[in-house]
């Protein structure tokens, strides 16, 4: 039973750390499927986390915080969109730039406005998300196996956690079952086909970029309004890049993204769990190896040793009408 308990705790923390990854990777899914590469997920998430923390602290409203997160993240997406869609600039360069601008300005503005060493003020009960407890969660906990799964694994998460997992089928549905999704996937493969069909390539890509902004907004808000009570400088700590890795690892497919994020989240949770505890048979695993594993796995996948990750064909290439 003790072992089972460990597993439940491990999975529970897996879910907790996977949520921002799922949001951010789905965000990347929308832009990259539309042919705009985005390594600025990190920056957007960070900007959103800051906006959420700051606004929630000032207004005392978690919803205002969430709204601010989404708006800021969309604004940053539009900057990326303007550079890479309208100005046809290098998408990688633009993403790098946004990451830096956000990393710097969240600290500068945070310090100027709140003077707490780059933090936003700690949020009280009303201005942050609370966990949701399912009905009878407490009374059924004692039931073997199913009890803890219901009470600890399924129940007791933040609203945004459920939203994240709901976003997986929703994103799938949008991409594969709506007109917008059809066009979005088409523009990432052959923008010429979209243009000659009388659809604006630019506006379509802008909409994809906005979708990305919304989802990154959720990711950031989760960090500062749910996972912790307030913004801490640099709190994304590379999650945007792990999400990017997960997106590639999932070969740009929604359900694979969820699995990849859960896998990477699990590795993260395991790394924390294993700190100082040797594994049976294997012995002591350096925690750094566990931390590096998502990146190593992605590199191995990219190298084509486990399947082949084929990115959208028009990805990274600005659209120019050709004669």
């Amino acid at each position: 039973m003790d072992f089972f308990h460990v597993i439940v705790v491990l999975l529970e923390s897996t879910i907790r750390v996977s949520v921002p990854l799922i949001f951010a990777a789905l965000a990347g899914l929308f832009t990259e499927r539309a042919g705009v590469f985005d390594i600025g997920l990190e920056g957007k998430m960070l900007g959103a986390a800051f906006a959420a923390g700051a606004v929630a602290a000032v207004t005392q409203s978690v919803w205002m915080g969430l709204l601010a997160a989404i708006l800021i993240s969309i604004a940053l997406s539009l900057v990326h969109g303007y550079a890479s869609i309208t100005q046809r600039g290098n998408q990688i360069v633009s993403g790098v730039a946004i990451n830096f601008i956000v990393a710097g300005s969240t600290v500068i503005l945070g310090e100027a406005w709140f003077r707490q060493g780059g933090r936003t003020p700690a949020l009280g009960e009303g201005s942050r998300f609370q966990t949701i407890t399912f009905p009878y969660a407490d009374s059924v906990r004692e039931i073997p196996i199913l009890g803890p799964i219901y009470s600890d694994l399924l129940s007791g998460h933040f609203l945004l956690t459920y939203v994240a997992f709901a976003m997986v089928p929703i994103s799938w549905w949008i991409l594969y079952r709506t007109r917008f999704g059809l066009r979005l996937r088409a523009v990432g493969e052959n923008p010429g086909a979209v243009d000659t069909a009388g659809i604006s390539v630019l506006w379509l890509r802008y909409r994809a970029v906005i979708c990305c902004g919304i989802l990154c907004g959720f990711a950031g808000a989760y960090l500062s309004l749910a996972m912790t009570a307030g913004f801490v400088k640099g709190m994304t700590a590379g999650k945007g890049y792990i999400a990017l890795a997960a997106l590639i690892f999932a070969k740009w497919r929604p359900f694979n993204i969820m699995l990849a994020c859960l896998l990477f989240g699990f590795l993260d949770a395991l790394a924390i769990r294993l700190q100082g505890n040797p594994l049976p048979l294997i012995g002591q695993v350096p925690v750094q190896l566990m931390q590096a594993l998502p990146y190593i796995l992605t590199v191995i996948l990219l190298a084509g040793f486990i399947g082949k990750a084929i990115p959208p064909k028009a990805g990274g290439v600005p659209y120019v009408k050709e004669r």
């Binding site: 100005q87 600039g89 300005s105 503005l109 310090e111 890049y241 890795a245």
Partner: protein
């Protein structure tokens, strides 16, 4: 048609347009300063004064510039072959191993001028080795080099934490860093160089690796424009199909270019490790690998542009520290913003002002033509 922009005179192309992009980046940065309730002009004064006002300040500025010359050159070399090496950060970090090993081995028995060449080789070797795999994976397996180098940055970071906390740390010490090097592991300062201009370097760690950076810049120029390999790299960068036609091996060039690029990034480690701290610490790279992207973009991937761009960023780093001293609400993170803005305006938005400027120039030349015509008639 295929040429969207008309041809502009060289001084506009390589002088005016980059300057305008830079000016806009600084204007936006000034807005941020306004936003936090400070005076941008005052900040600019502190920035420039803090970077150049005294021999010591200048020494710090050039110390930072040294670092950025290396990482800027690293990015530029890869750009010429059409490769985006975003992994300078990790390569510089791993390059530190080479420096540390040379110093730990010989610092107590040999003078610096024996240790230094070995450290150069070591840093270049380790940096190149860290860049080799992404290069090889792109050449042979088709993995996108941007993504792999990003991944390698994180892997490098984990690797270095592991090494510094478990392997390279002296017994009994708590801090994740190597022991402090003896004299043989410390580079002499370039106080005499500033003294020529009547300046006192003070405590600034401005050291001989600056000269090495200048030599490296010259060597990169030689490599790109005066060697067969450089010719092949540029051919591949402009047109992979032409390179194939000319019988150049794409995979060979990719791997070699990445190794040169990684080697240059690795050499950056000499400056902080041997030139300043006399030991290898966690996170000694401090984002210099990414600054290299900004420097290479601003310097148009040409060593003659990279050196001033590196000095500019050196100025930001040093002057930025002074600003935060004088104006507490502007911390050193201001530099990070400016860096991002420069990457945005000099890189991703480099063509934003071009149409307007082109129009201006065609208008002017047309007017000039009319004037000569009327004169002729």
């Amino acid at each position: 048609m295929s040429t969207p922009y008309a041809k502009l005179p060289g001084w506009v192309e390589y002088g005016l347009i980059p300057l305008i992009n830079l000016a806009v980046a600084f204007l936006v940065a000034g807005l941020v300063v306004l936003l936090v309730g400070e005076n941008p002009l005052e900040a600019a004064y502190h920035l420039i004064n803090g970077a150049f006002g005294r021999g010591e300040y200048l020494g710090f500025t050039l110390y930072y510039a040294t670092t950025f010359i290396f990482t800027g050159l690293a990015v530029a070399v890869a750009f010429h072959a059409g490769l985006f090496n975003i992994g300078g950060e990790g390569q510089a970090y791993v390059g530190g191993i080479g420096v540390a090993l040379a110093c730990l081995w010989l610092d107590q028995t040999m003078p610096w001028f024996v240790v230094f060449p070995l450290a150069i080789l070591g840093s270049a070797f380790f940096g190149a080795a860290w860049a080799f795999l992404p290069g090889w994976l792109q050449a042979k397996r088709g993995s996108h080099i941007v993504i792999t180098t990003i991944m390698f940055n994180f892997i490098a970071s984990s690797l270095m934490v592991y090494l510094l906390t478990r392997v390279l740390k002296p017994l009994g010490s708590m801090a994740p860093q190597t022991r402090t090097f003896a004299e043989g592991g410390q580079l002499p300062k370039l106080d005499w160089l500033l003294a020529i201009f009547g300046l006192n370097v003070g405590t600034a760690p401005f050291n001989v690796s600056f000269l090495l950076a200048l030599v490296a810049a010259f060597c990169v120029w030689l490599l790109i424009w005066r060697t067969k390999l450089g010719y092949e790299m540029r051919t591949m960068g402009h047109s992979p199909s032409a390179a194939r036609y000319a019988g150049m091996s794409e995979s060979r060039i990719t791997v070699i270019t990445m190794m040169i690029s990684g080697g240059l990034a690795g050499m950056m480690a000499l400056n902080p490790i041997m030139g300043e701290q006399a030991r290898m610490q966690l996170d000694f790279v401090q984002g210099a690998g990414f600054v290299g992207i900004a420097v290479a973009l601003m310097g148009r991937s040409h060593p003659a542009g990279i050196i001033p761009a590196a000095v500019l960023f050196g100025m930001l780093y040093q002057g930025g520290a002074e600003i935060s001293f004088e104006m507490p609400s502007i911390s050193r993170d201001m530099i990070v913003i400016i860096q991002g803005l420069v990457i945005l305006f000099a890189g991703a938005l480099e063509n934003m002002f071009r149409p307007a400027i082109t129009r201006l120039f065609t208008m002017q030349s047309r007017r000039a033509a009319v004037v000569t015509q009327t004169k002729g008639a």
